[in-house]
């Protein structure tokens, strides 16, 4: 603030909101105007510090903010109007909630005296969003706006992160009603004090258990990325020579090309990751929540393993799988303390046992090791497309995925060596996430390679955003694995419904290249495996516009391995003809 604290600046509610965002360090907000937020939009127009990105549909605004948060670790900010603006944001809020992504969503509301009267564009956003937010609040006094914003960021970003909604009735932002503005430095809440470190006694027990293990594995999830503990995880694993598997949300937390990395685990996890889990005698779970897509049948889960579970959210511990040693705390300080205690411990890992364990793991690697059918050189294999993308981008791109087969192929075959580069809707599985996510990342990382890996189904759920890309000059690359089918649905229909393709075929697809060109972008169609690498290189070299890369891939391809329903982690289909 330029004025002395004794004479606070007088601002309207709308101005206070935008100034608060500026003082919070927000550079971009993503949104769409409408009646209830017009005063706020006028306040945006009067300044230039906080830049607004106009999307074409509110859902896209939420995914942009969400992906910015996933890449940067800082909360993304959304501004939408009441009623349909707010309801359109719901899918994106739920997406962020399921993956614990920090986000602040500001929704307009009808005038306070009209609330409850079924006024024009009124919807009970507090009620609607309640089950899918970390917290929400309604502004009832304009004086509360700065502290509400501070509180929203604090809640969204601390502890287990998540989205926070601030619902603001229009009369809280009246341009002619001015209030003294002061942005608080900090917020103290008696009812919310996220835990800062783990319990040392529990950590000691965990270290003792881990050091005595003969067949250990580290199972790490999105919490390691959110908790910025990639370095500590890598150090712990490498110091002890323990295998590491990542969840879908945790990819990149441990280097994907490292020998100790056994791949993703779970429903479409690697054979070796699932086998290593199933046969382990000690599972160290770090910032992962034993999701049903990981555990398969919980009754058959890791029958011989002791479970150590580190998580910042006590409700995630012993929810589906009972932890033998629970540690509640942020992963980074907990892992640091574990490393210190390992240093001091008299126990040493049994190297002979560990060598045997690695021999066994390498044997599993030999058995499957992520292979897929390559005997037909005419058919474009989606796995090969992802491998080639990884090669062309040197494994350094931000890969923003949609949802379906292409998502699993990307997770399996793009080797992420850095955290925050793999951006996908894991928990909610939101089709339409990929393109706006890529836009959110590209905007804040203009020089980075940002690729939206998608399918012809998912891309059409938010394809209107090609227009936003044009408006803001966002040169994202859209890699569409086009097989003419809703691939994952088709795969399930092949496996469980005798190939009755009920509504999984997409007829009347547009010419995606021409469509992209109509927005002023570039389109590249790839039909034959021979032209793949060259054309991908050509596409990645373009830095000033969107390139829509439409790749015609084999519609027969399934994602393997795939866990057998209701089985143990080790029960998998390995191809159309083999199972464990």
């Amino acid at each position: 603030m330029t004025q002395p604290a004794s004479e606070p600046e007088m601002l309207s509610g709308g101005e206070m909101l935008i100034r608060s965002l500026k003082d919070q360090g927000v550079e971009y907000i993503y949104g769409y105007p409408g009646g209830a937020v017009l005063h706020i939009y006028d306040a945006i127009h009067k300044q230039s510090d906080v830049k607004h990105i106009l999307v074409r549909h509110e859902q896209a605004a939420t995914h942009m903010a969400d992906a910015y948060a996933r890449a940067s670790g800082k909360a993304g900010v959304v501004l939408v109007t009441s009623g349909p603006g707010a309801t359109n944001a719901i899918t994106g809020i739920a997406t962020a909630y399921m993956d614990s992504i920090p986000m602040v969503v500001i929704t307009g509301q009808v005038m306070s005296h009209l609330i409850g009267d079924d006024a024009f564009q009124e919807t009970d956003m507090m009620g609607l969003s309640r089950p899918i937010v970390k917290h929400n609040m309604s502004i009832r006094d304009p004086n509360d706006i700065p502290s509400a914003v501070k509180k929203a960021f604090y809640i969204a970003e601390s502890g287990r992160p998540g989205p926070v909604v601030i619902d603001i009735p229009k009369d809280m932002t009246m341009p002619n009603e001015k209030y003294p503005y002061e942005y608080p430095d900090r917020i103290k809440m008696r009812s919310y004090n996220p835990v800062k470190k783990g319990h040392s006694g529990q950590i000691r027990k965990a270290v003792n258990m881990l050091l005595q293990a003969k067949r250990p594995i580290i199972y790490s999830g999105g919490g390691v990325i959110l908790g910025k503990a990639s370095k500590e995880l890598t150090q712990l694993a490498q110091q002890l020579n323990v295998p590491v598997t990542n969840t879908l949300m945790g990819l990149g937390a441990y280097p994907g090309t490292d020998r100790q990395f056994v791949g993703m685990l779970g429903m479409h996890g690697s054979y070796e990751a699932n086998m290593t889990m199933h046969n382990a005698d000690c599972v160290l779970a770090i910032g992962a929540r034993f999701d049903d897509r990981v555990t398969n049948n919980t009754g058959k889960f890791c029958p011989e393993a002791n479970i150590i579970h580190i998580d910042i959210d006590p409700a995630s511990i012993s929810k589906t799988i009972q932890a033998d040693i629970p540690i509640v705390g942020p992963v980074k300080p907990v892992l640091k303390e574990m490393l210190e205690q390992i240093e001091q411990s008299k126990l040493k890992m049994d190297q002979d046992a560990l060598n045997l364990w690695w021999e066994q793991i390498d044997e599993w690697r030999q058995r499957h090791g992520g292979r897929y059918r390559t005997d037909d050189s005419e058919r474009m294999k989606p796995q090969h497309v992802i491998e080639t993308l990884c090669k062309v981008t040197k494994g350094n791109a931000y890969v923003c995925s949609d949802v379906g087969q292409h998502q699993m192929f990307a997770a399996q075959y793009y080797k992420f060596n850095h955290p925050n580069r793999w951006i996908n809707s894991g928990g909610l599985g939101t089709m339409g996430f990929g393109l706006p996510a890529a836009m959110g990342v590209q905007l804040s990382y203009p020089d980075a390679d940002v690729v939206c890996v998608t399918g012809e189904g998912s891309i059409q759920m938010n394809i209107q955003e090609l227009s936003t890309c044009r408006q803001y000059g966002l040169p994202v690359k859209i890699l569409c694995l086009n097989n003419g089918y809703l691939g994952m649905v088709r795969q399930w229909q092949d496996m469980n419904y005798e190939s009755r393709y009920s509504h999984s075929y997409m007829d009347s697809l547009p010419d995606f290249c021409a469509l992209a060109e109509s927005y002023g972008h570039m389109g590249i169609r790839i039909e034959h495996p021979d032209e793949l690498e060259g054309k991908l290189e050509e596409a990645m070299a373009v830095t000033d516009k969107v390139v829509f890369i439409d790749v015609l891939v084999d519609p027969e391809e399934h994602v393997y391995p795939m866990q057998v329903p209701n089985g143990a982690m080790s029960d998998m289909f390995l191809s159309k003809t083999e199972r464990t």
Partner: protein, 163 residues
């Protein structure tokens, strides 16, 4: 097993909806629910009775604690505690029943708090068991209306749920 969970929460609009919503969303059951202000006007106290396996109860208390407006909570059934519920019951009181109902009421140390030539309104307080027993004892009479407050509870001895 039956649990009585008492929750101190910020006395703010929407806080109750969050608690009730949590139970609906996650499929936990609520047998009774009681909310009222406390001596501290910024706090309200909510007491709920729920049933479930230990694992479910553990999840319930963890999720309640996660709600931003929840300041503190206690599962009273984990220790020695006192529980009370108040019930008002309106009974048809004519003929031979008039005397019979009065006797039952006295046995349960209930109070008749409203009288008409044909009805009694009786107030009974006690734990859930006693209140239920009184209802059973009245089974010969014609019940016109029952109003129960739900259970409130407090720990015995020095322990207290306060800030």
């Amino acid at each position: 097993m039956r649990h009585i969970i008492s929750v101190l929460m910020e006395n703010e609009a929407g806080a109750l909806a969050r608690v009730v919503g949590l139970f609906a969303q996650r499929g936990y059951n609520i047998e009774s629910l009681n909310v009222a202000p406390t001596d501290d006007e910024t706090l309200s106290r909510l007491t709920l009775v729920t049933k479930g396996e230990d694992r479910v109860i553990e999840q319930i208390t963890k999720h309640l604690n996660k709600l931003i407006e929840v300041v503190k909570l206690v599962d009273l059934t984990e220790g020695s505690h006192i529980e009370r519920e108040l019930m008002m019951v309106k009974v048809r009181a004519t003929g031979a029943q008039r005397e019979e109902v009065k006797r039952t009421c006295d046995i349960f140390r209930g109070q008749i708090i409203d009288v008409t030539p044909t009805t009694y309104t009786i107030q009974v307080t006690g734990n859930e068991e006693k209140v239920n027993a009184f209802m059973d004892a009245l089974s010969g009479a014609t019940l016109m209306e029952v109003a129960r407050t739900g259970v409130a509870g407090i720990a015995r001895g020095d322990k207290s749920l306060s800030l």
